[in-house]
Symmetry: C2
Subunit: 337 residues, 2 copies
DNA sequence: CTGAAAGCGCTTACAG
DNA sequence: CTGAAAGCGCTTACAG
């Protein structure tokens, strides 16, 4: 092996400063009192050599990795941008790296990459959990926090999530009470997605509270996807189903809905009210501007990372963190400025 | 230090299998011939102990980190999603982790986190380069690839970018030739952004080729930002500037443009043609659907990562990779289906 | 306040 | 085909 990058090591610094490596280490880590002259000598030596500690070596010695992992299905959706953004900002500030693991729910085969030895902890954001994987990790007490989904029975993992049901309910209430809608389509999220489940409960509750019977015909799959939602709503229209409003389980599917309605020449909001969920960045720029429920996505990312850091530092963390959501009225429901 | 996670080590495996640690290591890395019975014994021991190698230790021994870094200003824009997606997919497939560094152009202070010891290489995607930082990294031959920006004078770093000028030119040509536009506003990207620079050149070339004088008044700042673009175009309208088309330097700013036009009651595309650049996921869902230039963003991410991997493995890489762009006609320019 | 030494868990010449 | 041993660059009891 040719040694091309001859970066200075702590040993070089020690030699130059005329002290032991232990002393240099202590200076770097500020974890022991040092004589003023020693400090100066060490600093001078470090400057002269342009030394920076070898992170991998440090990690091996301290048995940490300085990596936080986030496991997610995919990073295709607009939703992930603010989430990642929040995570990156706090991990970075705390001197950690963020590793992203995507793709099929990570099987046990790459547990190695997820677990200790490669990460100090994990943030898990999946539609449905790889239970086995989670269990193995939980068993060895690998720090984890769950995002917008609860832990499988018997395992205790802190979770951060949002007021899905209350948000959905407020939105559907609004559709009924203010705009007099009664035939409200609900476009579900992906199978097994917990958020969608709660949003549907909010939808049903709002209906029940206004004595509107739940109608199976009015429910279809949106899968948090524009194209799926587009196709789904088109099919619904072609089937001749009558409706006067659509509650898309997220903004992404709402975009597909708007498109489908446009293609069918149904006026929004005059003939059909449309509402989404999430309040993604583009919601105020759609035509018409989208009424939706604001989800504090970036904050979720930040909190998840902060909680994970707490866990790693053996500090207490709330088992459930429920962030508030808020109805944001724009034009697509029928409200005017 | 309480030792809570007592993960098995290679030594445990060796003991159980009745071989030396060297043999186990060789088995894991498939880098030496091993007797069949030995293989079986080792595998059995690994299975029994549920062993997985400690990545940090391996990295220290091999002097690699298995980390690829990507340095970017921020991950707020929609543009970053497919870029990251592409990067993650190839890094993951090759057993590397992707570290994201965002924020102010990384000063030399955290060179440590970027350089060797923490990453095996870097993908750099910034509006303007921290030259010092790049130089120091280049000096120690830290593998790097630049995305959509050229290396500072005197440094050779492979770059992957797109046909900005040709794309812009095709688009503006279309506006002039097909839709008869002559007063075309150009909404610039951020200061120092190289893509925007090339797109502006394409714009100017198209004008020149049709004997349309370049008019300073028709150029304003869009900064690849919806809100900035919105404000910018509003100001332009209030100033009474006459125009019949807008070329927004990216789709994001085009969204702001559409909004501004809507608020000013100017019909798109009847009165004003609007075109963007990038062909982000939402382009076909805007109202009207957005004519734009397709940039193969995910492919850029993939290629950047692949090239970086090649560099790391001392394989040759093209100094410049120029990916084609393509005009995508939709409604906002005036074309119909 | 400081140093000598062991150790973190691997890999890899070197020797056989 | 296999092993003993040195080494990767740090940290951290232990001792003084």
């Amino acid at each position: 092996m040719t040694k091309e990058k001859n970066s200075p090591t702590i040993r070089d610094v020690a030699r130059l400063a005329g002290v032991s490596v232990a002393t240099v280490s202590r200076y770097i880590n500020h974890n022991a009192p040092l004589a003023e002259t020693t400090r100066q000598n060490v600093q001078a030596a470090m400057d002269e050599l342009n030394f920076s500690p070898h992170l991998t070596a440090r990690n091996l010695a301290t048995n940490r990795t300085n990596n936080l992992g986030v496991v997610m299905q995919n990073i295709g959706g607009d939703f992930f941008t603010p989430l990642l953004d929040g995570m990156v900002s706090v991990t970075q500030k705390n001197g950690y790296n963020l590793l992203i693991f995507t793709g099929d729910p990570p099987g046990t085969q790459n547990l190695n990459r997820l677990g200790p030895g490669n990460t100090d902890g994990l943030m898990v954001f999946l539609d449905s959990l790889e239970e086995d994987c989670l269990r193995s990790l939980a068993q060895i007490h690998h720090p984890m926090v769950l995002i917008q989904q609860s832990a499988p029975a018997g395992i205790e993992i802190p979770m951060v999530t949002i007021e899905n049901k209350a948000g959905a309910r407020a939105e559907v209430d609004h559709l009924i009470e203010v705009h007099g809608r009664r035939r409200i389509v609900f476009l579900r999220g992906p199978q097994g997605n917990e958020d969608s489940h709660w949003r549907e409960l909010g939808y049903r509750e709002a209906l029940a509270n206004h004595d509107i019977a739940f109608d199976e015909q009015l429910v279809a799959d949106g899968e948090y996807d524009r194209y799926v939602a587009l196709a789904s709503l088109k099919a619904l229209i072609q089937r001749g189903v009558q409706f006067d409003a659509v509650f898309a389980a997220d903004d992404d599917s709402a975009i597909g809905v708007l498109q489908a309605l446009r293609e069918a020449d149904l006026k929004v909001p005059e003939q059909v009210s449309v509402v989404g969920f999430d309040d993604q960045r583009l919601a105020p720029f759609l035509a018409p501007t989208l009424t939706t429920v604001h989800a504090p996505t970036m904050q979720i990312g930040m909190l998840a990372a902060e909680h994970l850091l707490h866990l790693i530092h053996k500090e207490p963390v709330a088992p459930i963190t429920l962030l508030p959501t808020e109805l944001v009225l724009r034009h697509s429901c029928g409200c005017s400025e």
